[in-house]
């Protein structure tokens, strides 16, 4: 019983060709599902509107995973965590997906920039007639929107690549001062990260419903993303171990901590999502409750109930137990489960805005945009392109992550590695 351990002499911690394999698998998914998505999107006959909605949902899903892991890396340095040293390199690899995801995101940014009016209602000339949206249009203009997109991407890529690069440097030099440097950088990095994350979700997902107000949306979204991020981390670690890597270094103690984070954010998401709902329900202001009106009644109420039960109640009750998190198959079950529901959360946030309503005043017809008109006209309208676009972005995410899985899969000269290897839950 000692507090530190050395890396097991037989440990395989070199990535070898695994990263390339992951990238190729990802690329194959992107290519096949991408073509299928475009065909399905074109067949939808709505000028790619459904396709672009599904595309934004898929993009949000994949980006939220990288954001969650960037947060883990920052938190690791900020708090001098010990347990996470063994999985930090994998988390860094997952943040390596930022560049390719931001490139892929141009798939919906460029159309908006060049005048596509059916994705974001604020980009539609009809939005000017709505007094609530009209005064938000100084922020919501296509060019400024695209500029902000570039800035957010630059910030995420800068922070993530800096931390990944310095971490690799330490593998070479073994200089413990690098840990101190990263710890100092993690504080301001976390603040910058928080603002950028918040604004990214405000811009990409929340402005799909431009009339709506909520100040907690970015926080809720980040919490939801972290559920998915830790679930994805657990699955990737398991995949590496199945391929013979890190089998001696990562054990159920570390899985337990990944499970704890999943559990914590399952509750965090429910807490903030309910806060948002309850305050708006209680305040009963039309500008706010309108967003929930279309989710609490009609077709969408079943998705809302599914979220409440599947994304919170069921995993909350079972992840509470110590053994659910320590027995790897059960953790894997909940990781897959929560990833599916994380996608459903994105879907639930974005897709109710898909149906736009036109309202007639005598001879004139006005485009009232999303979340307007009778509730019965708004259907979940689940279509195959929703799924294929999601798979496209899982592919993009794997491509980006595979790029980062190279060289050492564990920070071999990190001063806290010994403590992390010997990590035990009390």
């Amino acid at each position: 019983m000692s507090l530190t351990k050395n890396l097991h002499p037989d440990e395989k911690y070199k990535a070898g060709k695994l990263g390339t394999t992951m990238t190729l698998v990802g690329a194959a998914i992107v290519a096949s599902m991408g073509i299928l998505s475009i065909i399905l999107g074109a067949a939808h006959g709505d000028h790619f509107k459904r396709f672009l909605y599904a595309y934004v949902i898929g993009w949000s899903f994949a980006v939220s995973l990288s954001i969650g892991m960037l947060w883990l890396v920052l938190l690791h340095h900020l708090t001098r965590s010990r347990w996470s040293t063994v999985v930090r390199r994998i988390a860094e690899a997952m943040t390596g997906a930022f560049p390719i995801l931001w490139l892929a995101g141009l798939g919906f940014i460029l159309p908006v920039l060049f005048g596509y009016q059916d994705l974001y209602f604020w980009a539609n000339p009809a939005a000017k007639a709505d007094p609530v949206i009209a005064h938000k249009l100084s922020w919501l203009s296509p060019s400024f929107f695209a500029l902000r997109y570039v800035i957010y991407g630059a910030v995420f890529i800068a922070i993530s690549s800096y931390f990944a690069k310095k971490s690799r440097e330490q593998d070479e030099s073994g200089d413990p001062k690098i840990s101190v440097t990263l710890r100092r950088a993690a504080g301001p990095g976390m603040i910058l990260f928080a603002f950028t994350t918040y604004l990214t979700w405000l811009d990409i997902l929340m402005t799909l419903a431009p009339r709506w107000y909520s100040t907690i949306f970015g926080v809720t979204f980040w919490g939801s993303g972290n559920i998915g991020a830790f679930a994805a981390l657990g699955l990737i670690v398991l995949w590496l171990q199945r391929n013979g890597r890190l089998v001696h270094s990562i054990n159920e103690e570390h899985y337990h901590d990944i499970g704890k984070w999943m559990f914590a954010f399952t509750f965090f998401w429910a807490y903030t999502a309910f806060s948002q709902f309850m305050l708006q329900w209680y305040g009963n202001m039309p500008d706010e409750t309108n967003w929930y009106k279309y989710r609490m009644f009609g077709d969408w109420q079943w998705v809302t109930i599914a979220m409440l039960v599947g994304y919170w109640a069921f995993p909350f009750v079972f992840l509470m137990s110590r053994w659910t998190k320590r027995i790897v198959p059960s953790l894997v079950f909940f990781a897959v489960w929560q990833l599916v529901f994380h996608w459903l959360d994105m879907y639930w946030n974005a897709m109710p805005q898909y149906d736009w309503t036109t309202i007639s005043h005598g001879s004139t017809t006005v485009n009232a945009g999303p979340l307007a008109g009778p509730i019965a006209m708004h259907h979940v309208g689940f279509t195959p392109v929703d799924i294929t676009c999601w798979l496209v972005f899982i592919g993009f995410f794997l491509m980006g992550t595979g790029r980062g899985l190279k060289g050492n899969l564990i920070p071999v000269k990190d001063p806290t590695l010994g403590l992390s290897l010997a990590h035990e839950q009390l």
Binding site: L3, W281, N284, R322
Partner: protein
């Protein structure tokens, strides 16, 4: 003393030299170890030798000590879960009893039994009971407090709160054998071992009086609010209520309609000073501010039938209205509609038939009352001169209160214009439709 002899006869030796004089029966053997790591190794050896009645003592939690000692995982989490669950259910029941059952309370039209509003309280109650279960559960499962515990009779053991790591094996263990047990502990690397004896006087095996005193006193004190509440529910009192912040309850300032010795008339109210008017309150345009037309003839004053000719050039008005001509145009009517919809519709309704939300609610409660129908062609409002209608908006009529305080005069005129518009719209004839459109409506 016979117990002490018996204990010594059972193999207790005095090699450490400072054994207390008065000892009871042997309790067990205490061994000290140098580091937490050695403590864990020693615990493992004791466990492997088959002992069950032993415990480890350290200043801080030691990783891996539980499996090393071979003790089962605690059921404390289950107790905490049950506590938290009871808290959530109890919190919901409390709110159901208070808000929905015992004393229904309408808060912004929400149902009295309304789950979303109850979640925060239920959540806090769940946390409270989970934490209390955890706190008291730890005490109970560890059978604490035991201030009479025989280990406290050892001077060496005092260092357990600082830097000492100990294993104590109790004589109650079936495998206990004074010599073999001691050899086992020493073989596991102890830096010292010591026999521990019970206190010979069984009277000492109880909680000290002062601790019991504190527990009883604080429990009694915690019941005081409940006692006061119970008394208040079952008795009447003519005493004035307690003023916790008297300087907030009795502020040294003058309030309206109070007596005061300072002034000769004994009132706190000070009337307006003769021949003065407060800034912005000079309402010298009788038509605009009161709807009254002065007549030079015998008829005297009368309600004005038209609208003011222009806005008075008074600082009471917004700058863009001062002195401007009063035009009954679309802008004025839209302003009137806006103000009407805010201030008048709760009773009179959007169509001015007198069936707004308030009468609707009265009917829902079994009552029967409508506000005045403002557009009834046989009703009094249609016949009223504009000035009288303006006066009614300003000063109220019967159940209706005056709105002069909320709505400035220029907006009241806009409302008058809008009410006239509603009357016209609700009582329109076929000829009122423009000739070009008449054909489209039958």
């Amino acid at each position: 003393m016979s117990d002490a002899h018996e204990a010594n006869g059972n193999g207790g030796d005095a090699d450490n030299g400072h054994e207390p004089a008065a000892n009871g029966a042997l309790y067990g053997i205490l061994a000290e170890y140098d580091t937490p790591g050695e403590l864990v190794e020693a615990a493992r050896k004791v466990r492997d030798a088959g002992y069950t009645e032993f415990d480890c003592y350290s200043p801080f939690p030691v990783h891996g000590i539980d499996p090393a000692m071979g003790i089962k995982r605690t059921i404390l989490p289950l107790v905490i879960f049950i506590g938290g669950f009871s808290g959530a259910v109890g919190g919901l029941l409390l709110q159901w009893y208070c808000n929905a059952y015992s004393w229904g309370w309408n808060i912004s039209g929400k149902p009295t039994w309304s789950i979303p509003a109850n979640i925060p309280i239920a959540y806090e109650c769940a946390i409270l009971l989970a934490v209390l279960s955890s706190f008291f559960g730890v005490w109970a499962f560890n059978k604490l407090p035991q201030v009479w515990h025989p280990l406290f009779r050892s001077d060496r053991f005092a260092r357990v709160t600082d830097d000492g790591f100990f294993i104590g094996i109790e004589k109650a263990d079936s495998r206990f054998d004074a010599d073999k047990t001691k050899a086992l502990l020493e073989g596991a690397g102890s830096i010292a071992t010591e026999n521990i004896y019970l206190d010979p006087d069984p009277e000492n095996k109880k909680m000290p009086k002062w601790i019991m005193g504190i527990i009883i006193a604080s429990t009694a004190f915690a019941l005081v609010p409940f006692a006061i509440a119970a008394k208040a529910r079952n008795s009447k009192s003519s005493e004035p209520h307690i003023h916790i912040f008297p300087d907030m309850d009795f502020q040294p300032k003058f309030k309206s309609d109070q007596a005061n010795d300072l002034f000769p008339d004994g009132r706190e109210n000070r009337g307006e000073i003769t021949n003065t008017v407060a800034r912005g309150w000079l309402e010298d345009d009788e038509v605009f501010f009161h709807g009254i037309e002065h007549s030079t003839g015998d008829a005297g004053d009368s309600w004005t039938t038209g609208f003011p000719k222009q806005y008075p050039d008074s600082p009471a008005l917004p700058p863009d209205l001062r002195g401007a001509p009063f035009a009954v145009d679309m802008k004025l009517l839209e302003r009137g509609q806006n103000r009407f919809n805010i201030y008048c519709t709760p009773c009179h309704g959007y169509d001015a038939h007198g069936q707004g939300m308030v009468p609707t609610r009265v009917r829902a409660g079994g009552g029967n009352w409508d506000a005045r129908n403002l557009v009834d062609p046989k009703g009094p409002v249609v016949q009223m001169p504009n000035g009288q209608l303006f006066n009614t908006v300003s000063n109220g009529y019967a159940k209706m209160m005056g709105y002069a305080a909320q709505i400035p005069a220029w907006d009241r005129w806009a409302i008058v214009a809008y009410v006239r518009t509603l009357e016209r719209a609700q009582n329109a004839s076929h000829e009122d439709i423009p000739a070009t459109e008449q054909g489209s409506i039958k």
